[in-house]
């Protein structure tokens, strides 16, 4: 038994020696492959960051949505009470609060802050805004926010004879975000497939060069009776290492980039409703795991394809 372990160790030692030597002998191509895998992973990483954040922003937005039931310009106090009761009694409605024309105006002008000049010519008594009920919902988890909103909206609209003018919950907003979010996921997938092919091809070529350079050695190994896996191993190890180096490069780059992006995001990008970018801690773990796995797999597969042709004797 001890003898057998010893043999495995000897084999591993010589395989490892060969791998390192091969990378040293083939530096230029090696650097090119590392860079290409790295670049592919950086681009991929950016797309992943983008879609993760998109999803995050969409979710925050959705959870912060409120439904507004606007009343007609001339509503009566009786109508107002009737609508309020009807809304309160409806399923999934948690809280109903009234916002008068004046309150609406105040809230709007406060939100404009420095741009209050836009409201020149209007004041609390002469304003174009309508009175409304703000409806907060309490929905079961099986129903999505948007679905719940939509149900209540349809119901509230049916109250038009009681003075309801129209109902809004920012559905255009949400739908647009959901669209962007799903198309960014789609795009990430397409980019991932294309970049994977390119990276596999580059690693394939690097390892092919290694194979050509070591053709004589491969023949020696074959004729002396080295097993196929022994011959294959250093090449696969080499490809995997190159892929891993590329992944490390990408991780460093993305980490730094995202850190700065968070730091400056307030100034350079506008995010709707109180949403913010995901904290680095939350995105870096999946990206790191993904990059390392992806890099090593790409490397291993590239070399596997490459060596298959050379071993075929």
């Amino acid at each position: 038994m001890a003898k057998r372990e010893n043999r495995t160790f000897n084999l591993f030692l010589s395989v490892f020696k060969n791998t390192i030597r091969s990378i040293q002998n083939n530096q230029l191509m090696g650097v090119a492959s590392v860079l290409s895998v790295g670049a592919a992973l950086i681009i991929l990483g950016m797309f992943i960051l983008l879609s993760m954040n998109m999803t995050h922003v969409t979710e925050t937005m959705e959870s912060e949505l409120e439904l507004k039931v606007f009343l007609k310009e001339e509503y009566t106090e009786a109508q107002k009470r009737e609508v309020e009761t009807a809304l309160k009694e409806y399923e999934m409605v948690q809280e109903v609060s009234f916002e008068s024309k004046q309150e609406a105006f105040k809230g709007f002008s406060d939100s404009l802050k420095d741009h209050s000049g836009l409201l020149k010519g209007y004041d609390e008594n002469n304003n174009p805004l309508a009175a409304s009920f703000v409806v907060k919902i309490d929905k079961p988890t099986s129903v999505s926010n948007t679905e719940a909103m939509e149900t209540i909206k349809v119901y509230a609209e049916s109250l038009s004879d009681k003075g309801v003018d129209y109902v809004k919950y920012g559905e255009e907003y949400v739908n647009a975000m959901a669209n962007i979010s799903s198309s960014s996921k789609m795009l990430s997938l397409v980019v991932m497939v294309i970049l994977s092919l390119i990276s596999v091809f580059l690693i394939y070529n690097t390892i092919k060069l290694t194979c050509v350079a070591r053709n004589r050695e491969i023949r020696v190994m074959k004729y002396v009776g080295a097993s196929d896996s022994y011959i294959r191993l250093p090449f696969i190890l080499e490809g995997t290492l190159l892929g891993l180096f590329g992944a490390l490069m990408a991780i460093l780059f993305i980490r730094t980039g995202y850190f700065y992006m968070i730091a400056y995001s307030n100034h350079i990008i506008y995010l709707p409703m109180n949403s913010s970018l995901l904290p680095p801690g939350e995105v870096m773990l999946p990206i790191t795991v993904f990059s390392l796995l992806y890099g090593s797999l790409i490397g291993a597969f590239g070399s596997l394809f490459s060596i298959r042709r050379f071993l075929n004797v």
């Binding site: 043999r7 495995t8 010589s14 004589r216 050695e217 020696v220 074959k222 002396v224 009776g225 196929d228």
Partner: protein, 230 residues
């Protein structure tokens, strides 16, 4: 030791037979010259022996075992029983003489302690112990060939196949190499030597098998190269 039983090999591309119904036996410890023109089927014979290619029909047996029954995984173990010295199968330039020979042991997982003991012995046997730390480029053609032979026998193969072992060497050096092969043969290694070196074959007076267009046209103990050609 080696048995070819009604072996036919056809390469699919051109339907010409590379070997046709070859039946041939080589005993343990024999020394056999395999001669014939280019394209006569000598290379095919060797490739079949190493299971680089498969027979179209017939059986190749080594030690009584039909080697076509070997799985892909078992082929390396067959090759460990067979040493090869090929004309185009040279040394690795970036390794020293010692490393080149040691490499053949390393890649089948022999421990360093054994390698350190055996490699100098093998180099001693081929008369190159003093050149151990030199690189192939520093050696003459004959010396290089002797290192190749040391590498081929380091794992104690039962059979040694030599394809044109004296191909690029001058007559004196060729003589040396042949003497070396004879000595290895005297230790009991079965020897199959493919060559065009007519005078060598004639002088050695060993068994000569002549192939022509895939057919064995003569098989003589103490044969001569030109037998069957004229």
């Amino acid at each position: 030791m080696i048995e070819f039983i009604d072996v036919t090999k056809t390469y699919e591309k051109n339907a010409k037979h590379a070997l046709q119904h070859v039946t041939l036996g080589i005993d343990k410890g024999e020394f056999v010259f395999l001669v014939g023109r280019s394209g006569a089927g000598k290379s095919t014979f060797i490739k079949l022996l190493l299971r680089e290619i498969d027979v179209t029909s017939g059986t190749v047996k080594i030690n009584g075992y039909d080697i076509s029954r070997l799985t892909k995984k078992e082929i390396p173990y067959l090759r460990r029983k067979i040493g090869v010295v090929f004309q185009d199968f040279r040394l690795l330039e970036n390794k020293s003489v010692y490393e080149n020979v040691a490499y053949a042991m390393e890649i089948i997982g022999r421990p360093q302690s054994k390698i350190k003991k055996k490699v100098p012995n093998a180099l001693e046997m081929v008369g190159l112990a003093h050149r151990m730390n030199h690189y192939p480029s520093e050696l003459s053609g004959g010396e290089q060939q002797r290192v190749v032979i040391a590498r081929a026998i380091i794992n104690n193969p039962q059979i040694l196949i030599c394809d044109e072992p004296t191909g690029n060497l001058d007559p004196d050096t060729s003589e040396d190499i042949m003497n070396l092969l004879t000595r290895i043969n005297n230790f009991g290694t079965t020897m199959v030597v493919v060559t065009h070196n007519q005078s060598m074959v004639d002088r050695m007076e060993k068994r000569v098998v002549t192939l022509e267009q895939g057919v064995v046209i003569s098989d003589e103990s103490k044969g001569r190269y030109d037998h069957g050609f004229f």
